[in-house]
Amino acid sequence: MNTAGKALLAAGVATAVAVVRRRRAPRPDDSGRRLAVTVDRAPEEVQSSLQEELARWRDRAEISIRPAAGDKGTELVVTPIGDVSRHELRLALRRAKSVLEAGEVVQPDTAPTHPGPLGKALRLVTSRAGGGGRL
């Protein structure tokens, strides 16, 4: 591997570590913050499908809906109750949105069998990237 390659590998690993650390150590004031996602469906439609899509969260999160401004659908707002994994909750919200809007959650393609060192570092990121982020 040439110098540029090594630098890129190092950058990739650093990015991976930074993202994973960030997910493991959320900012202190993040813990009580509500999570929200906007679903491009009418409030009645979202309300009627919620029981099914978010049933397992009924006792662990307070779920409310409100119309989104400007014909953008319905805002689905969730307040975690107690020690709830925000990663799992984000994932659940994203999945619910995708099912409500598109009818299913798109599955990623099969991963390569020999990802290499950079690929292995990247897998640390992608293993959490479905439920991470700014939602």
């Binding site: 390659g5 798109v106 393609d109």
Partner: protein
């Protein structure tokens, strides 16, 4: 099956990989007929976009024949000939409903990466890194097409395979730059970059009524191709002052619309190129925005700049003062292909939009590595290498 895989920096190889299979009800499997390299692939090859795994199948501009559909697919059936947009779209989120397809909310399976980088995640792309969903690419005998009803578009009988191929990405990307850049009848339009996307942006500007179109590049063979195909005017920046030429061509005003079709690894001449190379090598800036700077600087007061080239992150020496004080409108996007592809296929069928000349090097997939080498080094007057499967 055989597929062209990214195996490391500047290392692509044909490998045996498992056949794709239907993973969702709305998937279909396509037998790829033609798949072409794209300038944006070079950012993967060079490692500029560091979200690849060895063994990832690359390629995102393609067409082929449907061989299998999931139970949720209603618009395609086995035997259909389709062109597939490089962006995978659900077709039913707010962004898709508003024809901002590349911003689809439901197709990036790894949204956190781009959310951290950019504040929000765009849609998924075939063969374009795990930051964009980790989907397998099209340089393969078969490819899985998620949300097939919305991602793939039928090809009219009057359009041959090679012409249809470029309706997958370069044609709609170019068209979008001209249309969303606001080209109007009588405008003077300048396009930076004379690859396939730049040529298509230039042709789109003509079809939208531009009075003069000037294309800027450093390769005479690409400029000649655009002159011959579309009758545009050309500027070779290696031996001409772009600013002086544009001022002369526009009576001292500058172009009404400037379209950047170069991207994050731009080349140039003079000290600014050395500056950007050093800074990007040291990772003090992520992208080299040379053409964007020029477009903003040379655009007329109150004009419009559209950024079509792929950029990944932070840039240096961005001319915010020129943008603000000249009252410019600057816009950019990945392609909203589904918005344009049916219309563009009709224009190709009618003969007003010629695309097949872009395929300068057609070869079997087994020569994939050579195809990228030709394309990357601009050898043998290569504009696009196309793999026939």
């Amino acid at each position: 099956m055989k597929a062209l895989c990214w195996e490391g920096i500047n290392d692509v190889r044909v490998q045996d990989v498992p056949d794709p299979r239907l993973l969702n009800d709305q998937d279909m499997i396509l037998k790829v007929r033609l798949s072409t390299v794209c300038g944006s692939d070079l950012h993967l090859l060079t490692g500029h976009i560091p979200f690849m795994q060895a063994g990832d199948v690359i390629g995102h501009e393609f067409m082929g024949e449907v061989v299998e559909v999931g139970p949720g697919v209603t618009r395609h059936r086995p035997g259909d000939r389709v062109v597939v947009c490089s962006f995978i779209v659900c077709g039913r989120c707010w962004y898709c409903r508003n024809e901002l397809y590349s911003l689809c909310d439901n197709t990036n399976t790894n949204p956190a990466i781009t959310q951290h980088l950019w504040g929000a995640d765009p849609g998924g792309i075939f063969g374009y890194s795990h930051a964009m969903g980790g989907f397998r690419g099209s340089h393969a005998e078969y490819v899985r097409v998620p949300f097939a009803d919305h991602t793939a578009i039928p090809i009219p009988e009057a359009v041959d395979d090679m012409s249809a191929l470029f309706a997958s990405d370069s044609v709609p990307t170019g068209w979008m730059g001209a249309e969303l850049g606001g080209v109007k009848p009588g405008d003077v339009v300048a396009v930076w970059g004379c690859g396939a996307v730049g040529q298509m942006a230039a042709r789109a500007a003509q079809l939208l009524g531009a009075e003069r179109v000037l294309v800027i590049d450093r390769f005479d063979y690409r400029l000649r191709q655009a002159e011959l195909a579309y009758g545009v005017e050309t500027i070779n920046y290696a031996n001409t002052s772009v600013g002086d030429a544009l001022l002369e061509a526009t009576g001292g005003r500058g172009p009404d619309v400037c379209i950047e079709a170069v991207g994050c690894e731009a080349h140039s001449t003079g000290p600014q190129y050395a500056y950007d190379q050093v800074k990007s090598k040291l990772k003090l800036e992520m992208d080299r925005p040379i053409a964007v700077r020029e477009a903003i600087y040379h655009c007329r007061k109150g004009g419009s700049v559209f950024v079509l080239g792929v950029f990944t992150g932070l840039v240096d020496k961005f001319p915010l003062g020129a943008l603000m004080n000249k009252g410019l409108t600057v816009r950019g996007a990945q392609q909203h292909g589904q918005r344009y592809i049916p219309m563009l296929l009709d224009r190709i069928a009618s003969g007003e939009l010629v695309t097949s000349h872009l395929a300068t090097h057609v070869m079997p997939l087994s020569e994939g590595a050579r195809g990228y080498e030709l394309f990357k080094k601009k050898e043998d007057d290569c504009v696009r290498s196309v793999f026939r499967l």
